[in-house]
């Protein structure tokens, strides 16, 4: 690295700038010249006790001695030389000024002037710019860099992980002076720290659970390493873009995830069955209960009704037992015989041949009009007149008897 390089390191000095570029007006050249001489003198006196080269260029009077053309030329060269000391520090940046290689000041944003080369030089560091490192991919998560993204986990599995680290410069001096190529160093630290954290985590945890936690741990580790090196870098965020099993085993992992869902589905189906069966059973149970209750009420009511009827009849019966009994008997017989088919026979003539076509009689009875049967079913008052059919049958019977 040459000392004679005015652009030593990174940001080179800006070229001479016109007025109005910064927050201060153009400095007066004469004043600058005097200032320069004074600084130079101070410097040489301070450093080497004036024993060094005695080289201060002549002041105004000696310039006159050169005469017109040459004087103008020299003045012009001088002016350009002096103007090369202007530089601009943009908002969010810091300037670092070196005097003969020694750090002399840190400058704030604005138009700045330093003494021209070879006396002073400056470097500009952007503090606000957020720098990003992408590990395991470039530009897009899909364009993977497998060499960086495949990592070994605690349980000796391999995980494919892409992450990004964002950082800013918190200390311009540290950033410039402590470490060579700090940005590259940040990349190395990022990769190393993340791999250390992943190496201590289990595959399932990385894939399905604690990605934020891992990012936080890596973040802390990175920052502590940066602080140890004194890179002047502040790690602002660590984000895991993507964590997945390597392509070779992706299908198996997907299947395992699917299996987990299958399991849930099966359980849900079982639950659905249960939810169908149990309420139905409860319904049936409640029907059974209600029916039983209904039966109970009915049986009791019937019993009470029957008992009550009987008791009332019994009360009347007690008043006139014989008549009542006879009446009930005859009424019942009337009702029974009125509604059924009947044949009256006299067994005293049993010796005679008696032809009784039962099946025909039954057929005839079956074809009888329903209304007739119904009316006869009704417990009616004993009617003296019998239906024509009964009369007929009675006659028939008598004929048969004959």
């Amino acid at each position: 690295m040459s000392l004679n390089d005015p652009n030593w390191g990174r940001g080179g000095p800006r070229g001479p700038q016109g007025p109005g570029g910064g927050n201060q007006g153009p400095p007066d050249l004469d004043e600058l010249w005097r200032n320069f001489n004074r600084k130079l003198n101070e410097m040489f006196r301070g450093r080497r006790g004036g024993g060094g080269a005695d080289e201060p260029p002549g002041g105004g009077p000696s310039a006159k001695a050169f005469g017109g053309g040459a004087g103008v030329l020299v003045a012009l060269v001088l002016a350009v030389w002096l103007a090369s000391g202007f530089y601009i520090v943009v908002e969010g940046q810091r300037g670092v000024v070196l005097t003969f290689g020694k750090l002399s000041e840190e400058t704030q944003p604005g138009l700045r002037w330093r003494m021209p080369w070879p006396i002073q030089s400056h470097e500009i560091v952007n503090l606000q710019q957020v720098r990003t490192i992408e590990v395991g991919y470039r530009n897009n998560v899909r364009t993977k860099v497998l060499k960086e993204s495949l990592m070994l986990t605690d349980d000796e599995n391999i995980v494919d992980l892409q992450f990004a680290v964002q950082f800013t410069v918190k200390d311009a001096r540290d950033y410039v002076f402590n470490v060579r190529r700090p940005d590259e160093t940040a990349m190395q630290i990022a990769e190393s720290a993340m791999r250390e954290v992943i190496g201590k985590s289990r595959m399932d945890a990385i894939l399905y659970e604690t990605q934020v936690d891992i990012a936080n741990r890596a973040h802390e580790l990175m920052q502590s390493i940066h602080d140890r090196y004194g890179t002047g870098i502040q790690v602002s965020t660590v984000t895991i873009q993507n964590a997945q099993p390597p392509e070779q085993v992706q299908a198996a992992f997907d299947d395992a995830v699917k299996a987990g869902q299958d399991r849930e589905r099966q359980k849900n189906e079982g639950q659905a069955y249960a939810n169908d069966v149990i309420p139905r059973a409860r319904g049936a149970a409640s029907r059974l209960g209600q029916e039983a209750e209904g039966y109970k009420q009915r049986v009791i009511a019937n019993a009470e009704g029957d008992a009550s009827r009987f008791q009332q009849v019994l009360a009347e019966y007690a008043k006139a037992p014989a008549v009542t009994r006879e009446r009930i008997y005859i009424e019942t017989m009337q009702q029974v015989l009125a509604s059924t088919s009947k044949i009256m026979m006299d067994y005293r003539g049993a010796g005679n041949l008696l032809y009784l076509p039962l099946d025909k009689i039954m057929q005839q009875a079956g074809a009888a009009p329903l209304t007739d049967a119904q009316s006869s079913q009704r417990p009616s008052e004993p009617t003296p007149d019998l239906g024509p059919r009964s009369r007929e049958s009675l006659r028939g019977r008598e004929r048969g008897e004959r």
Binding site: L3, W8, R47, G52, A53, G67, A70, F100, G101, P118, E156, I158, F177, V179, R180, T185, Q188, S192, R195, E196, R228, Y229, G230, V249, F253, A256, A259, D262, Q266, K267, G270, V277, I278, L288, G289, E291, Y295, K296, V299, A303, A307, S308, L314, Y317, A318, P321, R325, M333, L337, S341, K342, I343, M344, M345, Y347, M362, A365, G366, Q377, P379
Partner: protein
């Protein structure tokens, strides 16, 4: 104007002398001043410095933290002869410029070679006594610290401080990776099968439980229903008994009549009547005398 030529000449000579006699040492650098090849002075402070032109010359050394980063991952064997590929980087810094110059002639490349040899040797030792799991997980930082200390001790002799030795990648070689993938696949398959099987078992359990609950619910309901019916029957029997026991004989008559009524009720019921039945006693005899008496 005549005097201009000599003036310019003198000026040029003076400038040459000055530029040969002055040198700056940057904030980031240290310098060694050599006098005819002999180390005369070590400049550690930044700033403008003086040397004798022509007689003395100067070499500058970068004093910042430098990096040695492996180009190719190194292959080590862990305990149990399992190979791993290890990618590491070393952060180092020159602490003693004089020593550094004497040892490696101030050549950064030679210094890096020296560092690489020491670090890889030490790493090899450390890996050899540890299992793969320890290397990857448990003792990663222990290894890094131990290697750093050991290497630092060794490289002090060449005027170099080792700030840090960090493992970047610890990977399995390709052929081993394949077998790891195979194992991972088998593991996932096991997990998937287990999940499916336990899912089926769980579903079956839920179904069986539901069936059991149904049986229990129905049985209990039946039990309760029967109890209620029994209560009804008992109450009814009690009521009947209470009423009918007042006159059992009349009850059997009354109840028989009722039963007759409801038994013989249709045309399809055919009755064969004997003329001497009690019902028909007036049918033959207006006084109702039994036929047997007439016989």
């Amino acid at each position: 104007m005549k005097a201009l030529g000599p003036v310019v000449a003198i000026l040029v000579v003076v400038l040459l002398l000055v530029s040969g006699a002055l040198f700056t040492v940057d904030q980031r650098q240290n310098a060694i001043v050599f006098q005819l090849g002999e180390v005369k002075e070590v400049v550690t402070k930044p700033g403008l410095n003086f040397k004798w032109p022509l007689l003395q010359n100067v070499r500058l050394f970068d004093m910042r933290i430098l990096t040695y980063d492996d180009v190719e991952p190194l292959r080590f064997l862990t305990q149990g002869n399992r190979p791993v590929l290890v990618d590491s980087f070393v952060k180092w810094r020159i602490t003693d410029v004089r020593q550094y110059f004497i040892s490696v002639q101030g050549d950064e490349f030679r210094a890096a070679t020296r560092i690489r040899q020491t670090v890889s040797g030490t790493l090899r030792e450390q890996f050899g006594v540890r299992t793969l799991h320890e290397v990857v997980s448990g003792e990663r930082d222990v290894i890094m610290n131990q290697v750093r200390e050991l290497v630092d001790l060794d490289l002090k002799r060449i005027g170099v401080e080792i700030i840090d030795v960090r493992l970047k990648r610890v990977d399995l070689p390709q052929e081993v990776s394949e077998s790891v993938y195979g194992r991972m696949q088998a593991e996932r398959k096991r997990l998937a099968n287990e999940l499916r099987a336990t899912g089926a078992a769980e579903a079956e359990r839920i179904r069986a439980d539901a069936d059991r609950q149904r049986e229990v619910i129905l049985a209990e309901a039946y039990r309760d229903a029967q109890r209620v019916r029994g209560e009804g029957d008992a109450k009814a029997a009690n009521t009947y008994a209470a009423a009918f026991s007042k006159n059992p004989e009349f009850y059997s008559f009354y109840r028989s009549m009722e039963a007759y009524r409801s038994t013989f009720r249709g045309r399809t019921d055919l009755m064969l009547l004997e003329s001497n039945s009690d019902f028909l006693r007036y049918f033959r005899d207006s006084l109702g005398r039994q036929s047997s008496t007439r016989k």
